[in-house]
Amino acid sequence: MKLSSMRPIALVLSRELVITALLLTGVSFVVFVILYFSPGDPFSVLLEGQMPTEEARAGVREAMGAAKAWYVQYLSWLVNMLQGNFGTSIRTGLPVAGELIRTGLSTLMLTIGSMLVTLMLAVPIALYSAVRGTNRVSWTLTMFAYVVSALPVFWLGYIVIYFFTHKLGLFPMAFGFSGVERGFGWLYFLLPVFVLGVGNGTISEVIRFLREEMSRVMAEDYIRTARAKGASVWKHSFKEGLLIPVTEIIASKIPFILGGAVIVEEVFSWPGMGRMALQAAKDRDFPVIMGIAILAAVFVRMGSLFQSVVYVMVNPRASKE
């Protein structure tokens, strides 16, 4: 790629990064304030099994630095975070940053994998019905996708486990990275990735969006020109009809998939941030919740960053603006 075409991409990247920084600060502030003023005491987990006296509670709070005013706590958290220190989990005492990397990576794999499953199902159906219009085959496929989209992910998860693991004994219920080390670990990923990809409720929407975009592009004058000169219609419609819509879908569906990931991780005991978030919410483990909120926001922003970069790379006009 030529240097001249790298400049607009760099421009977009820097703009997106500034937006991301502002957004993350905003997210952390809002989440912190909500947590601070919500009822419940995060430190009761440390005194579990005891009949804590008021003095004991106060002592713990003092020791954890929680006696200060809320804004002092927030600012010190922010300063530490900027240095890569997300604090330590109240429950486990482990540094949050390390936990975030471990669970974040595994959720990222789940998210990307299920996104691929969704697209692998949706793209062919969308393209087929864009080209052929409504006929018996496209109608059946679309209806099937609507039904599948309506299946709740927890239900689908348990059905899949029951069928494949208990009935067929195919995929053992030992998920996680230990399987990877044994060489054929990718097999263990298949079930949760499939369940989240099918059951995140977005397939029908993805199909409809991609079909509409492709049909619109197919009716463009320049596609008629491509036909008239005997060139491949797919080659000419690919960028506007498929690439741009697919990146848009990826960017806009990440929040939904993350939401679905919480349930899938719980059902499949997948060691991801969704499960960690659930546990942290139960414990009121503030540092962990803050860290997860930040990481989830980072994921969402990564999607939109990806979309902007692809758009600028593909669309010559956008790069001039």
Binding site: A219, Y222, R224, T225, R227, A228, K229, G230, V314, R317
Partner: protein, 366 residues
């Protein structure tokens, strides 16, 4: 018309089905035309007369159903000779009633596959097409140059990208784009409408097709650019002798470039013959629609006398409900009492009224 015809359209019918009206739109309803090698045929008529659909039918680019339903399109060069609508009858069943087609049963998917086979090696290579609205007709996501080199690599012996690029530059300068070496790397949005049309022409001619179909090539451009594009087409015609089917509602463009002219109305050809006969301002033996069309063009006389232009009364024929008699009857200002009944009841056929000059009007025969 000395040369053997390169393209011979016989009784072409292209219909569309309107769901809301529960009836066929008879866009092209029995059109027969010929284009001799080296000749430019001008097809003129109002919007909705079926000119563009005729051209798209030749290219096999009609979208929507049922599309082309009957006819023959003979295409004959030194190398190839084929019917572009080969095996159409195998894919279409027509139900006739009272000389009108009332039902069409077409295997659209099968036909499109068949047409794809027949048309591969013809589209872009033997027959090239340029369109109105040149800016939208070029792919906005790639450079003009890559779109031209793509055509060259697809249809000529030049496969090497650098050679193809040189060839594209050659054609860009041929269509009078200045600094073609710079322009070749431009995206369409960086070029004006006129430049885009020049690039389209370069792309069409770069594969040296036997036939060029120009569908309203000047429509949607500024008036000055229109005349420049017309100049360019005239120059290319005299230099290269490309056989051209020129479609336009602009009679000045048609008269500038055409050797013969077909006037279309309501999906049929109403007058067909040498350009000088049809466009001459004096000749009386003309179809009433053609004379009305010619009278609606502003001339020097109109402008000097500050006269009002004569518009054609009434609306374009509704091709859903085609009347039984002459299609132009409702708007015709030359019906006489002797022929009135025939005009109303029976559609005239296209008959020769002088050598090589045919018209579809009861005025000239009985």
């Amino acid at each position: 018309m000395k040369n053997a015809p390169l393209l011979k359209i016989e009784d072409l019918r292209t219909y569309f089905y309107s769901k809301s009206k529960q009836a066929f739109i008879r866009s092209v309803d029995g059109v027969s035309l010929e284009i001799a090698r080296g000749e430019t045929l001008g097809v003129v008529g109002e919007s909705g007369s079926g000119k563009s659909i005729t051209a798209l039918s030749v290219m096999g680019l009609v979208g929507g159903g049922p599309g082309v339903i009957s006819g023959k399109i003979g295409f004959k060069t030194e190398k190839t000779r084929k019917n572009l609508l080969q095996d159409l009858d195998d894919h279409v069943k027509l139900a006739w009633d009272n000389g009108k087609i009332m039902g069409v049963d077409k295997d659209v998917v099968g036909w499109e596959k068949n047409a794809g086979r027949v048309m591969s090696g013809v589209r872009g290579k033997e027959i090239a097409m340029i369109f109105q609205n040149p800016k939208a007709s070029l792919n906005p996501f790639t450079t003009v140059g890559s779109q031209i080199t793509e055509a060259i690599q697809l249809h000529t012996d030049i496969k090497d990208p650098l050679q193809a690029r040189e060839r594209a530059i050659h054609w860009l300068s041929r269509v009078k784009i200045d600094t073609p070496r710079l322009r070749i790397d431009n995206y369409p949005y960086g070029l004006s409408g006129g430049m885009c049309q020049r690039a389209m022409i370069a792309m069409a001619l770069a594969c040296e097709p036997s036939l060029l179909i120009a569908d309203e090539p000047t429509t949607g451009l500024d008036a000055t650019i229109q005349s420049k594009i017309t100049d360019l087409l005239a120059e290319l015609k005299s230099e290269l002798g490309v056989t051209t089917m020129l479609i336009s509602h602009d009679i000045s463009v048609i008269s500038r470039l055409s050797d013969s002219v077909a006037v279309m109305y309501g999906g049929t050809v109403v007058e067909y013959g040498p350009a000088r006969d049809i466009l001459a301002s004096t000749l009386e033996s003309k179809h009433p629609y053609t004379s009305a069309l010619l009278e609606s063009i502003p001339t020097e006389r109109h402008i000097k006398a500050k006269e009002h232009l004569r518009a054609i009364e009434g609306d374009v024929l509704d091709t859903v409900n085609i009347p039984a008699g002459c299609r132009f009857y409702a708007r015709c200002n030359r019906v006489t009492d002797t022929i009135r009944e025939k005009c109303e009841r029976h559609e005239p056929d296209l008959r020769e009224i002088s050598p090589g000059h045919r018209a579809r009007c009861w005025l000239y025969f009985d």
